[in-house]
Symmetry: none
Subunit: 182 residues, 2 copies
DNA sequence: CCGAGCCGTTCCGTAAACGGAACAGCGGAC
DNA sequence: GTCCGCTGTTCCGTTTACGGAACGGCTCGG
């Protein structure tokens, strides 16, 4: 005992809790799920209790049998990296890698106050913003654009640019960054 | 039986490819990333080549150092809730619930061929599409719109509407559905 | 030309995740 | 009462993912 594995480990225990919850929601016993998923009972037991550091293969076998994506047990409130600035608070939701370019999709919140500046990116990088609520003023420093709810902005971000909320309302928007392949 | 998903292939190679892409985008060498992430070079090498079955701890160490969520390298075609039709294949990425409206953010692929029809939604629902690649023709049946890479479409979807790829290239886009609060 | 310093891959001993079996605890059948 | 079937946990031998070191390949610099 006491051999307690690194308790402060990342979300291993959180992952275990979610799997146990999902299993019990389905009325499955540990033994049954282990058999259906093709893993040992010891493996699943340790996994649910957070005393193991599961393999991707193991996790996939279990989550697939539960009928949920891997992200359902992994992505946690504390798990996703967030970029914070004076006014902008952006959470990276997804990364798409296509043949022509890589896309990063963020959910963005811009708080009222002075504009937040962002340095120039590599040549060819474009930003695409869809505003959900509030009024956003963003784009190149010398030619900012404005958009309200439901509207769309696009600019080439190889020059310094800024983000600002117009008025007192916080702006909520989705931000898509496109990095062309070299 | 039980509609077993591909048990052997859980996308280990796909995960490796994404990690390698993310690493190269950042201009990091394999050795450097391995040192920064605190894992062995052999581990990272095998991981990128798909010859290993990484543990959650290893994956987390690497993705955290790359500054992306685990979902960025895991989210695969399998497992995620997906809406499929004749031509359109959409994956739900995120749901935002704000005070004014609910937003559903999809990643969408439209394959070449005849248009896919979609019935009218509730009054006030709007759709917002940002095209990544290919040329998309979509919108109300009587007034469809066209957009190419980097362009944006918006229409009110309280009437029947359609989606179609123009030309032979598959269309990749992000689709934002906005449901106003009653 | 040759060594220095990187690159990424392969080799190898060790630590640990794995599945099967044995275990204790509980509830119902007879 | 005993037995059975089930629960979830623990023990244990096997498999394998791990990191350090050694390796071949490439690009510089002297």
């Amino acid at each position: 005992m006491a051999a307690a594995p690194p308790a402060g480990d990342h979300g291993a225990e959180e992952v275990g809790r979610r799997i146990r919850t999902l299993r019990e929601e389905r009325g499955l016993s540990l033994s049954t799920l282990a058999r259906l998923a093709g893993v040992g009972k010891a493996t699943l037991s340790g996994l649910e209790n957070g005393t193991r550091n599961p393999t991707l293969e193991t996790l996939y076998a279990v989550t697939a049998q539960l009928g949920v994506p891997l992200t359902a047990v992994l992505s946690g409130p504390a798990g996703t990296p967030t970029v914070r600035g004076a006014a902008v608070d952006a959470t990276l939701l997804e990364v798409f890698t296509d043949t022509d370019a890589t896309y990063e999709l963020y959910r963005m919140r811009v708080s009222p106050g002075p504009p937040q500046l962002s340095p120039a990116h590599q040549a060819g990088v474009t930003e695409h913003v869809t505003v959900f609520s509030g009024v956003l003023r963003a784009g190149p420093l010398d030619a900012p654009l404005t958009a309200g709810p439901g509207e769309y902005l696009r600019w080439t971000s190889d020059v310094p640019h800024s983000y600002a909320a117009v008025g007192d309302e916080q702006v909520r928007a989705s931000l898509l960054l496109r990095y062309p392949r070299d």
